[in-house]
């Protein structure tokens, strides 16, 4: 074998250093043979340096990208690893939905608590024959601004008789379907957005009860849901952050586990 020229030795040393950029397993398997191939190319006088060096540089760039991508694919796209990650992501998604749904339902159901009692008391008084004007408290409640509970008495056709609640100076009336349902079932609990002259975006947690007796009708006890909805939104944000954090941990765990269990050079 002819001794290598100093310039060729320098090129070979540089190429040997460049080989360190390949993934460890690939370098362990082929590094020595690649260096030998490069040495053979340097010693082949039919292969001009002007053609060889740019070709090897291009080859380094493309094959480095290819081998690193193959290494990442072999490390992280193993079916067992992906399956575990997908299962954990599904579990965390169910958990996040539960983290939102359960407190949201507790908050929403809790928003009815005073109204249930108020509607029951008012219906009982009206059934005892107390006049609506006496049974309904005189204190007016602007439901666009106040969070106080309020009551409204309606006649058997759903027309307001006496009301504490005012919205744009009018008494809000729920859809006729609500009265029809209560006529059959005795009570209904609804989230209701009154539609009057101006759109306030006010939502009411309302309990509607049937009034029986000589003057049948309906009573509605309600409360602005502004605070409850603000808390629901906080719960939604916290559940969303918890979900993102869980997915982040799963991603980190999957990457770490994949890296620790990757195929290592023999």
């Amino acid at each position: 074998m002819m001794p290598a020229a100093p310039h060729d030795e320098r090129l070979e040393r540089i190429y040997a250093q460049a080989l360190r950029l390949y993934p460890v397993r690939f370098r362990a398997a082929h590094g020595a043979a690649m260096r030998q191939t490069f040495r053979d190319a340097l010693q082949d006088r039919s292969f001009s340096r002007r053609a060889l060096i740019p070709m090897v540089l291009r080859d380094l760039v493309t094959s480095l990208a290819k081998e690193h991508f193959a290494m990442l694919r072999d490390t992280f796209l193993r079916p067992a690893l992906l399956f575990n990650a997908v299962v954990l992501a599904a579990i965390s998604t169910v958990l996040a939905i539960a983290l939102y749904t359960i407190p949201q339902q507790v908050l929403r159901q809790g928003a009815n608590d005073p109204q249930i009692q108020l509607a029951g008391d008012l219906a009982a008084r009206l059934e005892q024959g107390v006049a609506p004007t006496e049974a309904v408290p005189a204190i007016a409640v602007d439901i666009a601004r106040s969070l106080s509970p309020f009551v409204i008495a309606y006649d058997d056709q759903g027309r307001p008789l006496v009301s504490q609640a005012q919205l744009d100076g009018k008494t809000p009336v729920p859809p006729i379907g609500v009265f029809n349902y209560v006529r059959l079932h005795g009570e209904e609990r609804i989230s209701w957005q009154p539609v009057l002259g101006h759109e306030h975006g006010v939502r009411i947690a309302a309990v509607v009860q049937r009034v029986n007796g000589p003057q049948p009708g309906f009573v509605l006890a309600g409360r602005n849901m502004r605070e409850v909805e603000a808390r629901e939104q906080q719960v939604e944000q916290m559940a969303g952050l918890a979900w993102i954090a869980m997915l982040g941990l799963i991603l980190l765990g999957t990457v770490a586990f994949g890296w620790c269990t990757r195929q290592k050079p023999a």
């Binding site: 690939f26 082929h30 191939t37 053979d40 070709m55 090897v56 291009r58 080859d59 094959s63 081998e67």
Partner: protein, 114 residues
């Protein structure tokens, strides 16, 4: 005719050039590179990274194997497996059919070189 293990898609230029080179017999890396660079080998400028990356995948797919014979511990020799021969034959038939089709459409002179 070998069609039992026909490749699903045309071979990459590097894989085809390596198969074609090794069809003559077992060779080491630089000889394969040199064959690929020659016009009759496909005129492919393939560096050591592409060569050994392709050889690794071809060994995994059972198309080539190391012969175990070497004149230098750093110089490895490779040869085609029977599956490698089959895949090369199928690819050559595919290319031959394409060339025949080109000829029949007047895109290539009869008996001429592409």
């Amino acid at each position: 005719m070998a069609t039992a293990t026909a490749p699903a898609a045309p071979l990459t230029p590097a894989v085809f050039a390596i198969l074609l080179s090794l069809a003559e017999g077992e060779k080491h890396g630089y000889l394969i590179m040199k064959d690929a660079r020659a016009p009759q080998g496909g005129g492919l400028r393939m560096g050591p990274g592409t060569l050994y990356g392709s050889l690794e995948r071809m060994m995994r797919d059972g198309l080539v194997e190391e012969s175990g014979i070497s004149d230098d511990e750093r110089r490895r020799y490779y040869r085609l497996t029977s599956q490698g021969h089959t895949v090369l034959a199928v690819e050559l038939e595919r290319l031959d059919a394409a060339v025949s089709s080109a000829r029949s459409h007047g895109l290539l002179a009869h008996g001429g070189h592409s």
